[in-house]
Structures are given as structure tokens and as C-alpha cells.
């Protein structure tokens, strides 16, 4: 079972590597250009205020989408904090940016937990959740895979987790992936500003 899960991930790696185009000399963006991929198109989830949400709700805005969980692991990723700084740096244009946090642990990340967590980063940010089926569907659409790690007797369990942010342009198309060394507040701000100017 575990082996099969890892094979699936390995396959995803190959598929993704073929479809991915990094921002080369022809790309005006500093981060990974995702314009050519045909996945990561939409989501259908509920926000922490109980409202159904899909990408269409954020037309006219650049959307930054991050998958995570509030029950913090040993080292808390600072991605959401960075996203808040990008919005701040953009000044008035920051109102045309929507930060979204999709929980991959909907069982523990209740709307109330999400609301409190998101408020710690930025008042405009929304936490999104779905039932296990919707979460599974979304994981498939964004090439996010379920980790198969045994829980120990204290209910501790391992997860594999990435700090990548999916970025959609104001027309709702997946355009960029903020990840790795390019994921600084400076480069993210520059790329989001460029998307807003298009």
C-alpha cells in the first residue's frame, strides 16, 4: 500500500516535470510559469464563514492558494506570513489579491479553527475546507497526494508537505508556482504585481 502510494508520487513527478516550464529568459516572471499545464483548474470548497467557494468567486483578483494544516508540525512553515507581506507590500493593489489556505486536514481544521488561524496572518485571507471526498478530488486536480504514514501510539503522524503556492491570474487561470529559492517576498510581490498589470 505504502509502496504503491510512493510509486504514484514518483509518476506524478515525471508527468509534472514534462508539463512544467520554468521561467526562462522568455518569461517575464521570476517564478515557475504554469501557463501550459492543464491541471489545477478549479476548486469547490467551503470557506471558514460557511460560504461555498470556487475560483470564479475571485475573478478580478490574483489568487494565491496554499495547501496546509493548522496543527503545526515541528517547524511551522512561514508561507502564510510571507503571503500576508506580499499583500501589504502591494499597498492599495493588495485589495486585488486573495490569499487562500486549503486545509488537507479537514477533520481537525474545523471552520472555527481555520477562522482563528487565518486571522493571525491577514484579515482578508480565507480558509477553505471540503469533506474527505472533495479534499481527495482537489488533491488529484492539483497533483497533491495522500501520504501513507503510520501514526504512532500517541496519534502522532508524519506528513509530507510542501510550501509551494499556486497563483491564479485575475481571469482565473493557473499561471505561477511560488516554490523553492524563488519564493521570497520580493519575487512573489514582483510577480503578483505583474499579473495585476496584465
Amino acid at each position: 500500500m505504502v509502496l504503491r502510494a510512493f510509486l504514484v508520487v514518483a509518476l506524478a513527478l515525471l508527468v509534472a516535470a514534462c508539463g512544467e516550464r520554468t521561467g526562462g529568459p522568455t518569461s517575464p516572471f521570476k517564478s515557475t510559469d504554469m501557463s501550459s499545464v492543464d491541471w489545477g483548474r478549479d476548486f469547490h470548497l467551503t470557506d471558514h464563514n460557511g460560504r461555498p467557494r470556487s475560483l470564479a468567486d475571485f475573478r478580478g483578483k490574483v489568487v494565491m492558494l496554499f495547501f496546509g494544516f493548522t496543527h503545526c508540525p515541528d517547524v511551522c512553515p512561514t508561507t502564510m506570513a510571507d503571503m500576508a507581506r506580499v499583500v501589504d507590500r502591494l499597498g492599495p493593489d493588495g485589495q486585488r489579491v486573495q490569499g487562500l489556505f486549503v486545509t488537507v486536514d479537514p477533520e481537525r481544521d474545523t471552520p472555527r479553527v481555520l477562522a482563528k488561524y487565518l486571522a493571525a496572518f491577514h484579515p482578508s485571507f480565507l480558509g477553505l475546507y471540503g469533506d474527505p471526498g472533495a479534499t481527495a478530488a482537489l488533491a488529484k486536480e492539483f497533483k497533491i497526494f495522500y501520504a501513507a504514514q503510520p501514526a504512532d501510539s500517541h496519534e502522532h503522524y508524519m506528513v509530507t508537505h510542501s510550501n509551494a503556492i499556486f497563483v491564479f491570474d485575475p481571469r482565473g487561470r493557473l499561471r505561477l508556482l511560488f516554490m523553492g529559492g524563488n519564493k521570497t517576498v520580493d519575487t512573489m510581490t514582483a510577480d503578483v504585481a505583474r499579473l495585476l498589470r496584465e
Partner: protein, 192 residues
């Protein structure tokens, strides 16, 4: 849902995303793990600007001449919250003219949430500092918190640890004592 089933619930981002650190989810975990890693030789550190508990701008340079344990943290980070009492106790026992624990929050919500947390956790010896200018996050390449740096009297980084620890353990106290020069170390613990 059983634990066994639930272990499948959390998602792994696709492997193409590059380095995929394996993180441990621990409910009610205690700060643990190895102490900070000492560098072979001290590393120069860019000056960090931040603000103090009264909102006044200050910086790492203001601590020159003292050994500093710089802890970058946030109230939304559970391991950070769990290790804070150990930092408070370290400050209680070693804080003074030769040493200070600088707990630097990267909370967007600012000083009020930090003060609330300090009050509710009965943190008494630490002063709240805030990464007002984003310098800590920019200059220290903070990918995760808690991030803790041991800084010598010349303002150079001599060790670093990503992740929580029990900062008041005897080994750590001994290590820091060694770096506080004998001439500047307080003979008695100084309480602020």
C-alpha cells in the same frame, strides 16, 4: 474515522515541488530534539531592525557586546508556543548585562497578540520584540519557525536551530555560559 484511516487523510504535495521535508505532527508535543548546531566558525550576520515592546525601533546592533539567543517565532506556531516557557526560564537564569534572550515575533497582528500570549502563558522575563520591518524573515531566510540563533558579542551567528528545543536544559545553559565572557557574566542571575 480511525487513526489508521486518518493517517491517509493528510496530503503530500506532489514530489515535483522539490524538497519535501518530512514533518511530524505532534499533538501536545514537548519541545525536544537536539540542541542547536554550532558553526565551525562564526558567521557574519546582517543587522536586523525590529521594534521593542513599546513599539520603538531597535536592532540587533543595540545588543552588540552581549551574547544573544535570537528566537524567531509566531503565536500561530504551536511548537513556538510550547518552547517559549523554556526560553523564559533561560532568560530568568542567565539574562543580564552579558546575555539576553530576544524573542522576535513575526506576527502580522502585532504586539497585542504577543502580549496576550505572554500574559496567558505567564511569560515574565522575556520582552516582546516584533519583526516590524520584515528584516528577520528577509535576512535570515526563515523558511520555518521557530528559528533560533546564538549570536556572539560581536554580533556574529555562532549557532542555529530550526525547530523547538528545551532551551533551559543544562547543556544549553552550560554552552551559553561558555560564550558569555567571564568578565561580563553576572555573578548572580539578573532579573529584569
Amino acid at each position: 474515522m480511525t487513526i489508521r484511516k486518518r493517517r491517509f487523510v493528510l496530503a503530500a504535495a506532489a514530489a515535483f515541488l522539490g524538497a519535501v521535508p518530512v514533518l511530524r505532527l505532534a499533538r501536545g508535543a514537548r519541545p525536544a530534539g537536539p540542541d542547536l548546531v554550532l558553526h565551525a566558525r562564526p558567521r557574519e550576520l546582517a543587522n536586523l531592525r525590529f521594534s521593542d515592546g513599546e513599539g520603538r525601533p531597535t536592532s540587533l546592533a543595540a545588543f552588540r557586546g552581549r551574547v544573544v539567543l535570537l528566537n524567531v517565532w509566531a503565536t500561530w506556531c504551536l511548537p513556538c508556543r510550547e518552547e517559549m516557557p523554556t526560553l523564559d526560564r533561560l532568560q530568568a537564569s542567565l539574562g543580564g548585562p552579558g546575555f539576553e534572550v530576544v524573542a522576535l515575533s513575526i506576527d502580522h497582528a502585532g504586539l497585542p497578540v504577543v502580549r496576550d500570549f505572554f500574559n496567558s502563558t505567564r511569560i515574565k522575563h522575556l520582552q516582546p520584540y516584533l519583526d516590524t520591518f520584515g528584516d528577520a524573515q528577509s535576512n535570515l531566510a526563515v523558511a520555518g519557525v521557530p528559528l533560533t540563533l546564538l549570536i556572539d558579542r560581536e554580533g556574529r551567528e555562532i549557532g542555529r536551530k530550526l525547530g523547538p528545543a528545551a532551551w533551559d536544559n543544562p547543556r544549553m545553559v552550560q554552552l551559553i555560559r561558555r560564550h558569555i565572557a567571564p568578565d561580563s557574566a553576572p555573578s548572580q542571575p539578573v532579573r529584569r
